[in-house]
Each structure stands twice: as C-alpha cells, then as structure tokens.
C-alpha cells in the first residue's frame, strides 16, 4: 500500500516513478486515471479525463478487432466519426512503423507490433498526459530499445507529459526529466526525487553514454538498493 505520495508532473515533462515491488506504483497510476479510488486524499489533475491516456504492461488490444479498428476505437469512443477515425488510425499506424499491418488481428502481430498498436491507440487520442505502467517490460532488448526511441521522440514532439512507472533504472533515467523514488511498502511513500540533467531533444539509447548519466545512475542506484535492503 502506498501512503502519502505527493508528486507533480509539469506540462510537457517526462517523469518516472521507480521503487521496489509492492510500493504501490501501479496503484498510483490507476488512481490518477480513475480506475481505482485512493482510500484517502485526492488526485489533482489539471487536464480533463479525456486528455489522460494509459499504456499497460500487457497490450490488452481487443482480439476481435483489427489493428486499425483497435486504434480507431479510441477515437470513436470520444465522438469522432467512424470514417475519419479510420483515416486517423492509418496515419498513426504509419507513424509507428506499422504501414500495411492495419488489417491484421492482434493474434497475427508480434509482441513488439502489438505494443506499437497499443501506443498508436493512446497517442491518436492526442493526450496531454500519458501514464505508462511498465509498458516495455515484456519485450526483448532490441525491440524494446527501438520502441523506447520512438516513444521518446513522439512525446517530445507532441509535448505530452508522461508519468512512467518502471523497475528499470536505466530506462527511467534515459527517458526522464525528473525521477521519484518510492520507499519500500507497506506504508510506502515518496522518499526522494532527482532531476535528470540530460539535454533535450534526447535519444534515450545514446543518453546512456552521456557524461551526465553515470552520476545520476550511481546516486539513485545507491538509494534504491538502500530501500530494497531496508527491513520493513
């Protein structure tokens, strides 16, 4: 259970939340998007719910809809005309490198392709705030690195604020402007936060060899290890 988490995501900022398992990172995201009510306290959003999107760890595409229809669904549910939604869907599938795969059902796509469809689905809606719950954990290394590059450039260009939950410290640093560290549960809380002094625009793969990367990594890693070792 998470207790007393107070954190802010500024406009256009990429913020990550790292912490040991069971610290309630996922619950926090679910509370922000309204899938779960906090037991106490409030979630303050300056953006309306329709401007918030979430990407889960599993892609959870509707298996009976094609890639194109899955993407279009996110648009028609918000009132867009069907025909226009299909055009937009094709556009976003193209942007995510899935040209020509619109007629495929999720079952006939690879894990990386499904993840890209899910991304197209949330990005097509033009969210102001994007929540991601360990979205890349299930992908293998190269597919993962390439999707992360694409996500970074798309949110940077779209000036989308992001709140990413991850176990992967390197991923968090290479993508974020700001990182919050959660303490170990029960009664987890935000124990520390860090600014990431890497320049933008930024390629998250190359960011890992930037001179400013190692000192931040070292600092957060020490604090994180301390949290993991701490007896509850």
């Amino acid at each position: 259970m998470l207790e007393g988490a107070s954190l802010a995501v500024e406009d256009g900022q990429f913020v990550s939340l790292v912490g040991p398992s069971g610290s309630g990172k996922s619950s926090l995201l679910r509370a922000v998007i309204g899938l779960q009510q906090p037991l106490r306290g409030t979630v303050e959003r300056e953006v309306p719910p329709s401007d918030v999107a979430i990407l889960f760890q599993d892609d959870a595409l509707l298996p009976w809809k094609t890639a194109r229809d899955n993407v279009a669904l996110g648009l028609t549910l918000n009132g867009m005309r069907h025909r226009q939604a299909l055009e937009q869907a094709d556009l976003w599938l193209d942007r995510l490198g899935l040209s020509g795969l619109g007629d495929r059902f999720p079952r006939h796509l690879s894990g990386g392709q499904r993840k890209r469809v899910a991304l197209a689905q949330v990005l097509a809606r033009g969210p102001k705030l994007l929540l991601m719950d360990e979205p890349f954990a299930s992908l293998d290394a190269i597919v993962r690195a390439r999707i992360i590059q694409d996500v970074a450039s798309l949110v940077e260009r779209g000036r989308i604020s992001v709140l990413l939950v991850t176990h992967d410290l390197e991923e968090a640093i290479s993508l974020s402007d700001h990182i919050y560290l959660l303490s170990r549960g029960p009664r987890a809380h935000v124990s520390r936060d860090y600014s990431v002094p890497l320049p933008r625009p930024r390629d998250p793969v190359r960011a890992r060899v930037h001179a400013a990367f190692a000192p931040v990594y070292e600092k957060i890693w020490n604090d994180l290890s301390h949290e993991v070792d701490r007896r509850p």
Binding site: I33, L35, P49, S50, A53, I54, F56, D58, A60, L61, L62, P63, W64, K65, T66, L73, G74, L77, N78, F105, P106, R107, Q121, R125
Partner: protein, 249 residues
C-alpha cells in the same frame, strides 16, 4: 507411412469392409432381418428419395431442429447474460439449470408430448431445452470470465457501459457461443429425432420408429446413415461460420 494419405487408407479400408460385408450378405451368411447388406441399405435409400416420400420427413426434422436451435441459443444467451448480471436471477436459475444439466434431458420427451401433442411443438421444445441449457452455461460462466484488462482498456479509452457491452461483452459472448455451435447443432438434431421417435406422424425419428416396428433393418440403417450425413453437413456449415466469425482467433 505418409500422413498425407491418411484419408486414402481410411477410404480403402472402408471399401474393403463394405465389399466383405456385401459378399457375405449375397452368399447368404448374414440374416437380412438383422444385418442387411450394404446394397440393400442403398436400395432402401434410393427408394426413400426415388419415391419422394423422404422430403416431408426431412422437412419436419429440419424445421424442429433449426427452430429449437435458434430459440435455444436466443434463450440461452438471454438467461446467461441476465444471470451473470443480476445476482437474484442467478440465485433462482442456478439450481434449475444444474438439475436440467444433471439429467439426460431427452427423458423429458414423453412429458413434452403430453403437454404439447404429437405435432412439431413437442420436438421443438425438446431441441430447445437441450440447446438452451448448454448455451446458458456457456454464456453464464463466460461473462464472469471476461478479460478484466479488456474492460479496463475500453474504460480508459473513454468507453461507457454501452461501449463495454458492444465492444467487449457481445463479442466475447459470440465467441463462446460459436465455440459451442457444433455441439448445439448436434443437440438440436438429437432433440428433434428423439422427440419424433417417441411420438410423431412425420420426421426422420418417426420413420426410425416405423422401421423398428416393422423390423425393417435396411430402412433403419439407411435412416441412421442419412441422419449422419445431415448432421455432418450442418457441422460443415457451422464450422465454416465459426471459422469466419472467429477469424481473429
């Protein structure tokens, strides 16, 4: 042995068996009263179609089975959905359905004849009850297993209750029903034929009962063959439909 020619080997074995059976029959080794030869069965089939008297029976059985199938699927879905969504209905329905599921439902045939007469209604009722219970359980347990992640996905995309029904629940229900369609078709024909066998004036089941009472084994085997072909043909159609509607799977 090459797995590609399984069908060829099966066909050959079947032809050999038929040849032995027919030769034994011609040689007088088999009593046609118990086991008529394949050529006698074939002659009975030719007679059924040649005289044209089979059509009215086929029509009766098909009508009863298909009407029972359609009504049974409709009622099964409706009750399954209601049961899954309204706890009170689930409470009241569950014991009834469990009982109906526990007994061989064809034993209700004589009761339906008393209630509904020897006409088509009693056959429809039997096919209906066989199918409805099957579909009810399929849908009832299916809805409770709808993937939560899909529900959350549609909700977070801004979908309301109606969007959930349309994009998540209905397609899930359709998938489970289609997955059981072949079994349901088999049940529907079982219901129709057994109902006719108990008491009727038309239908394949009625012809079976007639063949039995006149000790006409050739006619009986011809009818068994015919029912097999009919159900296999319907299976093929159902299979096609299933393959098309579940093409995403």
């Amino acid at each position: 042995m090459s797995p590609r020619y399984v069908w060829a080997r099966q066909l050959t074995a079947f032809a050999v068996l038929l040849a032995i059976w027919d030769t034994a029959g011609r040689a007088g080794l088999l009593n046609p009263m118990y086991l008529p030869s394949p050529s006698q069965i074939g002659a009975a089939l030719v007679d059924l179609f040649g005289s044209g008297r089979i059509w009215t029976h086929l029509e009766a059985t098909f009508t009863a089975a298909l009407v029972g199938l359609a009504l049974g699927i409709g009622a099964g879905i409706l009750l399954g959905v209601l049961g899954a969504l309204v706890p009170l209905i689930a409470e009241l329905l569950a014991p009834v359905m469990t009982l109906l599921n526990a007994i061989p439902r064809v034993i209700l045939a004589p009761l339906f004849v008393i209630w509904l007469g020897i006409g088509i209604a009693s056959k429809v009722a039997l096919a209906f009850i066989l199918v409805a219970v099957l579909i009810f359980f399929t849908v009832f347990s299916g809805i409770r297993q709808v993937d939560r992640r899909l529900v959350e996905r549609v909700v977070t995309l801004g979908g309301g209750r109606w969007a959930l029904v349309r994009h998540v629940y209905l397609p899930s229900v359709a998938a489970w029903v289609m997955g059981n369609l072949k079994v349901a078709v088999g049940f529907a024909f079982t219901g129709a034929v057994v109902g006719e066998f108990v008491a009727a004036s038309r239908g394949l089941g009625y012809l079976l009962s007639f063949a039995q009472s006149t000790y006409n084994s050739a006619l009986m085997l011809a009818l068994v063959l015919l029912i097999m072909v009919v159900v296999l043909a319907i299976f093929a159609i159902a299979g096609r439909l299933e393959k098309y509607l579940l093409r995403w799977n």
